[in-house]
């Protein structure tokens, strides 16, 4: 693997996992020494992060980790609703029903696995990612898919803020199953509505578990 890729992945992980807090300045020499790569690949890594919006160039004095405030979360979900609703509707029109029927069944079984087991949680996240990937593939629109990929980076960052409380996860699994069902049935309006419901519940949950900060 290239050195620039390693630096990029490491920094991205550090930012998403909140080990590098918003406002932290990433000096080139400092980070290149920490990650054991030279400045050149590190600069490329920082460029990519800045393009993604995880960092912002702080005129002349390094780049800083981008902040995510509560207003940002509102804006983020506003765009997310716009894109994911459209994506769900398109997937319902163009997707293969069999794929989403299978996902629906698996998602309906997920809550049972979630009750106590730690492994079930990872399993559920995997299923949610599978659903996302299936929608991406079904929409057949590279530009829309790219826009959604760009969004998900920030969303993962927000998710790490919210508590992984089991009752919410069970409800989320049911909502995901509803989305999969709507897509499988080829009903764009329903798929869009189910997505809207899911996103609003998610946003409410995040804001409820993290009010002050």
């Amino acid at each position: 693997m290239r050195a620039s890729d390693r630096a990029y992945s490491a920094l991205r992980e550090d930012i998403i996992e909140w080990r590098l807090r918003p406002g932290t300045v990433l000096a080139e020499v400092e980070q290149s020494e920490r990650l054991g790569v030279s400045r050149t690949p590190l600069r490329e890594a920082l460029s990519r992060l800045t393009a993604e919006g995880l960092t912002t160039a702080a005129g002349g004095r390094g780049v800083v980790v981008t902040d995510i405030s509560l207003e940002d979360i509102d804006e983020l979900f506003e765009l997310r609703e716009t894109l994911e609703c459209k994506a769900a509707a398109l997937a319902a029109e163009r997707g293969d029903p069999a794929v989403f029927e299978r996902l629906q069944k698996e998602l309906l079984e997920a809550p049972a696995l979630l009750t106590d087991h730690e492994a079930g949680l990872h399993n559920y996240y995997g299923l949610a990612a599978e659903l996302d990937a299936a929608i991406d593939a079904a929409i057949g629109n590279a530009y829309l898919a790219q826009a959604m990929r760009g969004l998900r980076v920030h969303l993962v960052r927000v998710r790490r803020l919210a508590a992984d409380d089991p009752s919410r996860l069970q409800a989320a699994a049911a909502e995901h199953a509803a989305i999969a069902e709507a897509i499988a049935s080829g009903n764009p309006a329903l798929a869009q509505a189910a997505t809207t419901v899911h996103l609003h519940r998610s946003l409410t949950h995040v804001k409820a578990t993290h009010p002050p900060h």
Copy 2:
């Protein structure tokens, strides 16, 4: 201005103006010599272009200028409709009516200026850009605005393909005026509808003037 900025701007211009055709491989040494900068800033420029989607990394063998086919245009407008409709609706909810009333008036006067004069065309493009900027500012959503900026790069590239035929420009000015009016009147649904109409007409025009390629 930094050398990397100059290289970026030059390459971006060359790609948008179709002087660098899709499929052209941009070798680092070749381009760095052509633009009179070293490889290091040129690499950063290529990174930015690739992040924007104007070029794609061709595994190991330089980067190539991204192709835009007719299917791509359909996908592009699908995303564009999604984003711009939402933006127009939000602008109608949150924007300052006075700003859009002024833009509406100026846009209604544009067709008269467009008839023969060359300067009028540039004037109209300026007004359209002003409307875009006003919407961007009115929505108050940095993520949505960023997504739209990312799209506009590709759209400009498509626009250069289509002929600047006067009758279409006059119609487009009227459609823009309708959008401005809807936003000024604070009617989100109407703003969204006006945007949908405008985009569909634009797409139809582009596909009509450029069927075979």
